[in-house]
């Protein structure tokens, strides 16, 4: 009964979304305030209905209601409670419902907190958001209905894919969806502005928080996925350039570009049409990601929800929204006149360069991802595009971006001089080169990767610090420190996010360049050295977990006859799903991770054991957390809150001419 109510609520929400799509849009065209006012209650109702429907599905998973086909296929009574709940989105239908909840939530947020928007713009934004909802409600109800029943409920379910029974992966999809779907808000704002034919500084101010929030969630979601791959897949890789990873990385890159270009719109009323285009593309790439993940058109290690037929429907949705928005853009982009002027050397130009580099690096990822498909269809060549291609083709753009970043972020608006911008950075430049030389001198072998990573890391982090320091005035250092503390949160957000970027660059380069690996057969009692550490296989035992069998090894780690730690890597077997998984044991550290994996027993006795020493591994995700934190600081800035909530018109920032 409850399930039917959930199903019914979903159908009702579909109806509400149709109303939300049509009525406010017509109202905005005719200038009918009553029709425009429909948007808000519609968005709220839509959210409440979908949220109820989602709660019902969650309840079905919690109580293991196997009369639902979805629960039967993805759950099991023995599964720990947390994974019963996260199992709701560990499958295609449930994850689409989560997608809908988030979509409706963003719409409702725009309704609740959009009080400062001009009523016409708000009605249009909510109508566009409603149209996205209509498309996906239709998709869920007609092709991926989570509420289908089984006539004869079986006694037990088929269990969730064991790889998904993991804290890192359990929360990876919700964050990604918050990011993907969050970009729908930027899209709705862009399309509404195109219909309206007006983009001004205020528009830039309204669209930025949504983009920033979406980008933050994407950052966290991608970092969680990468962290999961690091500890779960058994050899410590953290990024594979897999089509599905690329699917989340492309919107991230475009959203990062959009964040920066929206600043130019907000502060200088330039780059308007480019910003609109980025907002459309960002959501376009989100939809493309959904298509890649769910259609299975590209082979990926992530294939868990593939269905070509559904893929075609998502492709149609993608074509309609992207095609429609781009057509509208082609018609209307000319009407948007830039107001702010700036010279060749200026913050604006630097941000344009940032946008070019981010957009082109996104193109590298895009073309590399779809190339196997294109080559097969057009040139009849079956080929692969893998990590070596992306490493070679993508990295140069990121290196260029990191080199430009500190200079650009310090340049003055409108008209700057390179010399003046470079002066506070000279010290950091020298330090960066010195550190790189030091790294080169103490590393074994002569790979350039490590030293370059060190130099870029120091340069980007130093640049962010120098930027803050420069803004604190010219007095004694105590006064300057105090002033730094009083700088707007947006400035701190910018610095924190840039520091995070530097930290991640350093972490990736250091780990790839200086990693140590050891693969061997060890008998119980054997002791061997890797780097500065000694590892000893103390014991191997077979035990049972709640829904799996496990082979667990005790490996003690020693340094100069002092025990550092005890690591317990596992090899699990999930009998219901008939799947083995490796659980690496990791001793996390600031300077290095010790990473141990136990393998199969060998015929001649002993166990295969792999040991890795991964220097600075955690800096990769630490940097990502800093980037997301920077976004948080910036979001909490008074300027954005006042700008979003205050109804008074923002004075136009027209430069004197």
């Amino acid at each position: 009964m409850l399930n039917e109510l959930g199903h019914f609520a979903l159908i009702l929400a579909f109806g509400v979304a149709i109303v939300q799509m049509i009525v406010p849009m017509v109202g905005a065209h005719r200038g009918n305030a009553g029709w425009m006012a429909v948007a808000e209650p519609a968005a709220t109702t839509q959210f409440l209905l979908v949220a109820f429907s989602f709660a019902v599905l969650t309840w079905a998973f919690v109580t293991s209601d196997f009369s639902l086909q979805l629960v039967y296929a993805n759950s099991h009574t023995d599964k720990p409670m947390i994974y019963k709940i996260t199992g709701v989105w560990g499958n295609h239908e449930g994850s689409m419902l989560l997608w809908m909840v988030i979509l409706a939530l963003f719409g409702a947020f725009a309704a609740w907190f959009g009080g400062g928007l001009p009523p016409r713009l708000r009605a249009r934004v909510l109508a566009v958001q409603g149209s996205i909802g209509v498309a996906f409600f239709a998709f869920v109800l007609f092709t991926s209905n989570p509420f289908l029943r089984l006539a004869e409920p079986p006694l037990n379910g088929r269990d969730l894919n064991p790889l998904l029974q993991d804290p890192g992966l359990a929360f990876h999809p919700p964050f990604l969806y918050l990011g993907y779907v969050g970009l729908s808000m930027s899209f709705s704002f862009a399309v509404a502005a195109l219909i309206e034919g007006r983009v001004d500084a205020a528009w830039g101010r309204w669209v930025r928080p949504w983009t920033l929030a979406a980008w933050m969630f994407l950052t966290v979601g991608i970092a969680l996925g990468s962290w999961w791959a690091y500890y779960e897949l058994g050899w410590g890789g953290f990024w594979f350039w897999d089509p599905v990873e690329n699917a989340s990385f492309m919107p991230w890159l475009i959203a990062a570009a959009l964040l920066h270009s929206a600043i130019v719109v907000e502060k200088r009323e330039a780059l308007k049409s480019w910003t609109i285009l980025l907002a459309i593309l960002a959501f376009g790439f989100s939809l493309l990601g959904a298509f890649i993940v769910r259609s299975g058109v590209l082979t990926s290690v992530h294939a868990f929800a593939n269905d070509p037929e559904r893929g075609i429907l998502i492709l149609i949705i993608l074509a309609i929204f992207l095609g429609g928005a781009l057509t509208l853009f082609a018609v209307r982009a000319g009407t948007m006149e830039a107001k702010g002027v700036f010279s060749t050397v200026s913050r604006e130009s630097a941000l344009i360069l940032n946008n070019i580099l981010l957009a082109v690096s996104c193109l590298v990822v895009f073309i590399g991802t779809i190339w196997p498909l294109v080559a097969e269809m057009l040139f009849d060549r079956t080929l692969s595009v893998g990590p070596p291609f992306f490493d070679a083709a993508f990295t140069p753009f990121m290196v260029a971006l990191a080199i430009v970043l500190p200079l650009g972020s310090i340049l003055a608006w409108k008209r700057g001089t390179l010399g003046r911008a470079a002066k506070p950075l000279m010290g950091w430049l020298i330090l960066a080169v010195a550190m790189a030389a030091l790294a080169y001198a103490i590393q074994s072998g002569n790979s350039a990767l490590g030293p370059i990573g060190v130099a870029l890391g120091v340069w980007v982090v130093g640049g962010a610090i120098a930027d803050l320091w420069m803004r604190s005035g010219r007095d004694g250092w105590q006064t300057r420190l105090r002033r730094m503390g009083r700088l707007p949160r947006a400035d701190w957000g910018k610095a924190t996010a840039h520091i995070g970027m530097g930290v991640t660059i350093f972490g990736i380069a250091a780990m790839l360049a200086w990693e140590k690996e050891d693969i061997r057969v060890a008998e119980v009692g054997d002791r061997w050295a890797v780097g500065q550490f000694e590892f000893q296989l103390d014991d191997v035992a077979q035990t049972r977990g709640p829904n799996y069998l496990t082979t667990m090894a005790d490996i003690s780690v020693w340094r100069e006859d002092q025990q550092v730690t005890l690591l317990r890597p596992e090899k699990r077997f999930y009998p219901v799903a008939n799947m083995p998984t490796t659980e690496a044991a990791i001793a996390n550290g600031v300077l290095r991770d010790l990473y141990v994996v136990i393998g199969d027993p060998q015929e001649q006795g002993g166990w295969a054991v792999r040991v890795y020493i991964k220097p600075f591994a955690n800096w990769i995700w630490g940097g990502a957390i800093l980037m997301a934190l920077g976004g948080c600081f910036s979001l909490s800035d008074r300027r954005l809150r006042v700008g979003a909530a205050a109804a008074k018109k923002v004075p136009d920032a027209v430069p004197a001419e």
Partner: protein
């Protein structure tokens, strides 16, 4: 038949990526083998190199690759041997021949075009008015004071 073989390989007990038994005693050769195998795709897997893959075929290919190296093949010869057997599908880094030029050159070309457009847009804008000269400043002061 080959399909059956592939299915059987996939069903086989999970093996491990590089196993201790396969590794060569010569550290230089082994290092070369690891580098090469990271660039070769396992033909029956989902987007994994033979270095990472657990599939039986990947293990076989790792051993074949090492045999080639022990027999004195250069890196290029060993890779060509694999390509001759399994097609260019096994190359994770596609070569820059024929249509693949598009893949390799699209981004650099677009970068140049974008930089060109960006440069022209900035240049064609109305120039930023020059700062006031000293004479003008004096003039302005006079007007403001009067």
């Amino acid at each position: 038949m080959t399909r059956l073989l592939v299915v059987l390989m996939l069903l086989a007990a999970p093996l491990w990526a590089v196993e201790p038994g396969e590794m060569l005693d010569d550290p230089v050769l082994e290092e070369r083998a690891r580098d090469l195998s990271q660039g070769l795709r396992c033909p029956v897997c989902r987007n994994e190199s033979i270095d990472e893959s657990n599939a039986a075929l990947a293990k076989e290919l790792r051993i074949v690759l090492r045999e080639r190296l022990v027999e004195g093949d250069t890196d290029q010869q060993a890779v060509n041997f694999m390509v001759a057997r399994y097609g260019e599908y096994v190359l994770l880094r596609p070569d820059a021949r024929g249509a693949n030029l598009i893949l390799w050159l699209a981004a650099p070309a677009l970068l140049l075009i974008a930089l060109g457009i960006g440069w022209m847009t900035i240049r064609s804008r109305k120039p930023v008015p020059d700062a006031l000269t000293d004479a003008e400043k004096a003039e302005l002061d006079k007007i403001l004071r009067s």
